[in-house]
Point group: C2
Chain length 208, copies 2
DNA sequence: TTGTTTTTAGCACGAACGTGCTTCAACACC
DNA sequence: GGTGTTGAAGCACGTTCGTGCTAAAAACAA
C-alpha cells in the first residue's frame, strides 16, 4: 500500500549506527539525534521504527547478544564435533574463546557494545532482562565447554560450576583489558593467557 | 584571614559525594549539580574547589586509584611477611585478592567507581593518564604476587608475565561479575573461584 | 569598627537531550 | 484519478548540562 520499505532492514541499519556510535563515542552519546545522523536519517524516521530511546537501546542490546551468542554456539558445535583431546579440538576451543575477544574490527565493535550495555544495565532497569539473558546464554556455552574438557568428573558438579565461572571471569577480564589497555593486552598476550588457562584446566583434575 | 575551611577535607567530602553518585546512579549522573546536591553544597562552592567538571572527575579517579592501590600494597606487605607456602601466606594471598572484589560496602563502592572510570577512560582522553597509572599500579602488585608464589621459575619471565596477566584478568572479570550479576557471583562463588585459581597456579609449574 | 579575602550562592547563556505533535511526500488500491 | 495508509521530516516544549560571571556572607587583620 504505502511506500515500500523493508522495515527489518531499516531497523538493522539503525542498530548498526547505534553500534558504531557506542564503539567510538560510548553509550551515553547514542542519543536519538546522534543515531539518526549516523544512520543518515531524520530523528522522526528513527522514532518511526523505535517508539522511544529506551526501545532502541533495548533492541540494540538484544541484537548484539544474538550476534555473540550465535557465534559462540556455532563455535561450540565445532568443538563438539572434534575428537576429544585432539589438536583439532584444541584449535576449536581456542577459536570459541577467541569469539569473546576484540581480535578483529567486527569482534571489537561487538565487544565494546556488549560491555557498554552490560555495565549500563546495572543502572538502567530496562536493560536488566536482556543482561540476564546475555549472562545465561554465555554461561551455558562456557559450562558446556567445561563439561567437554572434563568428561571424567562429570559428577563433581561443584567443581564444574566453579571452573565455568572461573573461565567466564577470565574471558571477560581478558576482553576488558583488550578493550581498555590494548597496548598491554595484545592479541599475542591474549593467546598466551588462553593457552596457559587451558593448560591449567587439564592440570587440575579433581579437587575434593 | 578569611573563613576557616579545611580545603583538603572539603575536597574529600566532594569526592565522597562523587563516589556515592557513581555507585548508585552511574558516572553520567555525576554532574556538578548532582554532586553539589549530594555534598549539600551549592554548585558554585563545588566549582570553587574544582575549576571544571573534568577536573573533579580526574581528581576523583585519582582518589579511588590511591585508595585501591594503598589497600593492595598493604595486603602485599602481609604476603611478603608470611612464611612461603604456609597457611598464613595462603590467607594473606586470599586477603589481597579479596581487595579487588566488592565484598563489603566500602569495597563495593570503590569497585563500582573504579570500573566506571576505567571504562569512561576509553572515551574521555582526560582520564587516560590516570587509567594508565591505575593499570601500572595494580599490575605491579599482581606481578609481585606471582613472583612470590612461583619463586622457583624466577627466570622464566615469559611465563610469569603471562600468569600475572591471567590472574589480573580473572580478578577483573570476577569483580565485574560480582558487580553486574550479584545473584550468580556471590561472595562464596568468588572464594571458590579464587581457591581454584590459586590451586591451578601451584599445579602448573614451568611451561616451556 | 573597618577593610580584605576566602567561601558560598546564584543567575544567565548556549547547547543537547527525549518526546508529543503536526506536516509533507510517496505509493497501492478502489 | 481519487483516496487513504505509511515513511520521512521537523517544530516546540520542558529538562538538564557546563560554565562565565556577579554578588552576598563570613571570618580574620588592622
Amino acid at each position: 500500500m504505502p511506500k515500500i520499505v523493508d522495515a527489518e532492514a531499516r531497523r538493522h541499519e539503525v542498530v548498526q549506527a547505534v553500534f558504531r556510535i557506542i564503539a567510538s563515542d560510548g553509550l551515553e552519546r547514542a542519543s536519538l539525534r546522534e543515531v539518526a545522523d549516523e544512520a543518515e536519517l531524520a530523528v522522526g524516521s528513527v522514532r518511526h521504527y523505535f517508539a522511544s530511546s529506551d526501545e532502541l537501546l533495548v533492541f540494540s542490546f538484544g541484537a548484539v547478544i544474538d550476534r555473540i551468542a550465535g557465534r559462540l554456539e556455532a563455535a561450540l558445535a565445532s568443538v563438539e564435533d572434534a575428537e576429544p583431546e585432539s589438536p583439532e579440538q584444541h584449535h576449536a576451543v581456542l577459536n570459541l574463546l577467541g569469539q569473546f575477544l576484540p581480535l578483529d574490527e567486527e569482534l571489537a565493535v561487538d565487544a565494546c557494545v556488549w560491555m557498554a550495555f552490560r555495565h549500563a544495565a546495572r543502572i538502567k532497569p530496562v536493560l536488566a532482562a536482556e543482561a540476564e539473558r546475555s549472562h545465561r546464554a554465555v554461561a551455558a556455552v562456557v559450562g558446556r565447554l567445561i563439561m567437554i574438557l572434563n568428561p571424567a568428573e562429570a559428577d563433581a558438579q561443584q567443581s564444574l560450576v566453579t571452573e565455568a565461572e572461573r573461565l567466564l571471569a577470565t574471558m571477560d577480564g581478558l576482553c576488558m583489558h583488550a578493550l581498555l589497555q590494548p597496548e598491554w593486552m595484545t592479541a599475542e598476550m591474549c593467546s598466551d593467557v588462553l593457552t596457559a588457562h587451558l593448560r591449567s584446566l587439564r592440570a587440575v583434575p579433581a579437587s575434593g
